[in-house]
Symmetry: C2
Subunit: 200 residues, 2 copies
């Protein structure tokens, strides 16, 4: 019944393989420095063959990013559905997001001057911001129901927290402090948020 595996088999399998390898190369060299020949060689196909699966370099790149984003979304979904304390859930959510995001950041790297790619990624971020707000809101609502949070305007709160997370993301894509106190930063911010949120 699984269309992906039963139906378009070969084609989809090839596609997936290309995506997997393209991901590696893109993340290593960035969009601009990666050529379709690089990818084609790596998958042991002619460059032309790539066009059988993707309509353009940008199309391929977007597919790679999309897949990455889906993985992230999936992981976040799992975190959100775990039956944990709302505070922990908030914490896990943020940490998962940032950790996975770090790998996405590799795509930024060396893209720098490449306007097209950056704009595309920004576009994706914008689009997923709404989802993010929604997810945060769910956590907040759950927190209130469990009588741990005390919030009057969910929307505003969710937006605020989302903004805070964005603040944490920035140094990941811009500057390059590797494994720096990511966790510590999160906890600090979380503490601030909580003490203005927790029921006393």
């Amino acid at each position: 019944m699984q269309t992906n595996i039963e139906n378009g088999t070969k084609r989809d399998l090839n596609r997936e393989n290309i995506l997997k390898i393209a991901r590696e190369i893109f993340s290593k060299y960035g969009y601009k420095k990666t050529t379709l020949d690089d990818i084609a060689n790596a998958v042991r196909k002619g460059k032309s063959s790539l066009y059988y699966y993707f309509s353009s370099k940008e199309d391929l790149f977007q597919a790679v990013i999309m897949k990455e984003v889906e993985i992230l979304a999936h992981e976040l979904e799992i975190v959100i559905n775990r039956n944990t304390d709302p505070v922990d859930k908030l914490r896990d959510y943020i940490l998962t997001k940032l950790t996975t995001f770090r790998s996405l950041a590799n795509f930024y790297h060396a893209i720098e001057n490449d306007v097209t790619a950056i704009e595309f990624i920004e576009e994706i971020k914008r689009r997923y911001e709404q989802d993010e707000i929604r997810m945060i809101k769910r956590i907040l609502i759950e927190g209130v129901r469990k009588n741990e949070f005390e919030i009057y305007d969910f929307n505003l709160a969710a937006i605020g927290i989302t903004t805070a997370i964005k603040g944490l993301e920035m140094p990941l894509s811009a500057g390059n402090y590797g494994a720096v106190n990511l966790e510590r930063s999160v906890d600090t911010i979380l503490k601030i948020i909580c003490y203005g949120i927790m029921k006393r």
Copy 2:
């Protein structure tokens, strides 16, 4: 008295800085994928300015490699002049060479198809092979003087050992086994060499 620092000051300083940064970028992306603009931006100069210091991209690249080679040569010189047991010296020599060589190997990486660069590096290797043989010979001679080795044809022995070392280098530049039993490999080969060499 130090001409480098006292005389051509500014120019040489700039040159050195360019070399340093170029080294990083080359080793990251390889010769082909590195553009002069990449380097120029990194050193905060216009691309044209680079041509004031180097006559071409290849010239710059060669200068980078040269510097790397000199560093290696210097380190080897130190090892050779240390007052250690000949066997240890041989061991240290090989290990130092291979370790430093590993960083050089980065320049290979992503060069793969780039014939020009590869040929140039090969050329350097060829040129330094003579030096290498000479150094090994010094160690062997010292070993005999200290009554630890028993060798009849220094030249042949030195050439043989040099060849063995080359064998160890190969997987470093070609394949990519990172921190793999380098030391173990060296010891093994060394053991073989010694038991055919050591006075009993």
